[in-house]
């Protein structure tokens, strides 16, 4: 199944479209999504360590704007957001 991962902050460097479309199995977790994004970085960005580190340190949010845990199960096609380390103000 396909999900959309909206990109924010430094993760916007991953795509000019501000989102990634990722293929995952039913009932995958956020950890699985991170793994897929890291595979994407390996393929498209020659394993850029900085980008991988950002993904490892990122949180994710659901469609209804809740920060979700690494074990959150994705049971249907949906849009989630990646929240890299923040620094406003």
């Amino acid at each position: 199944m396909k999900i959309i991962v909206e990109l924010y902050g430094a993760t916007k460097d991953l795509s000019s479209k501000n989102f990634l479309e990722i293929d995952i199995k039913n009932n995958s977790t956020i950890q699985d999504v991170k793994f897929e994004i890291i595979k994407f970085i390996d393929k498209k960005f020659e394993g850029n360590k900085n980008l991988k580190q950002i993904i490892e340190s990122s949180a994710f949010c659901s469609e209804n704007d809740k920060i979700i845990s690494e074990n959150y199960i994705i049971s249907k096609s949906q849009t989630i957001g990646i929240i890299p380390p923040i620094g406003g103000g």
Partner: protein
């Protein structure tokens, strides 16, 4: 009483006059404004501007949560809070954030103002990309957001 907004720099600026209007009440004997601006030097690099990125819906939610949590943490019942944050590109000296607080007394106002900016730094999904005089640019390292 709370006012929050994210202002797109392509469409407008954040303006202290709006904060003054919002906080103008004889109930408050102490009003404090915190204004964040773009400064010219960071880690020995000459900064020319900053692009702010924002997850708008979560930003506004975090402002509301910080406002509510301030009641529990600081026990300040009678207050008014004005928060506006910019998104998009801003140049040197331009404002990135205004936090205006109105309280009965100065001690409460100082505490509340400080609490809000520190919590925004920890909880609010906003990101900065600095632009430098050599035309380079860089997303700044931040703080990992925690699940509640």
């Amino acid at each position: 009483m709370l006012h929050t907004k994210i202002v797109d720099s392509k469409r407008g600026k954040i303006d202290i006059v709006k904060a003054e209007k919002f906080l103008s009440s004889s109930k408050y004997g102490a009003i404090i404004y915190f204004i964040g601006t773009v400064r010219n030097l960071n880690e020995n690099k000459e900064v020319t501007g900053i692009t702010y990125d924002s997850k708008d819906s979560l930003v506004l939610k975090s402002f509301e949560e910080i406002y509510k949590d301030s009641e529990k943490k600081l026990n300040i019942k009678d207050k008014a809070v004005f928060i506006e944050h910019i998104k998009g590109y801003v140049s040197l000296r331009e404002k990135s954030i205004i936090i205006g607080v109105g309280c009965k007394h100065r001690d409460e106002a100082y505490q509340l103002s400080r609490y809000i900016i520190e919590e925004i730094k920890k909880r609010t999904p906003i990101w900065k990309k600095e632009h430098y005089s050599d035309n380079d640019s860089e997303w700044l390292k931040g703080v990992s957001i925690q699940q509640n």
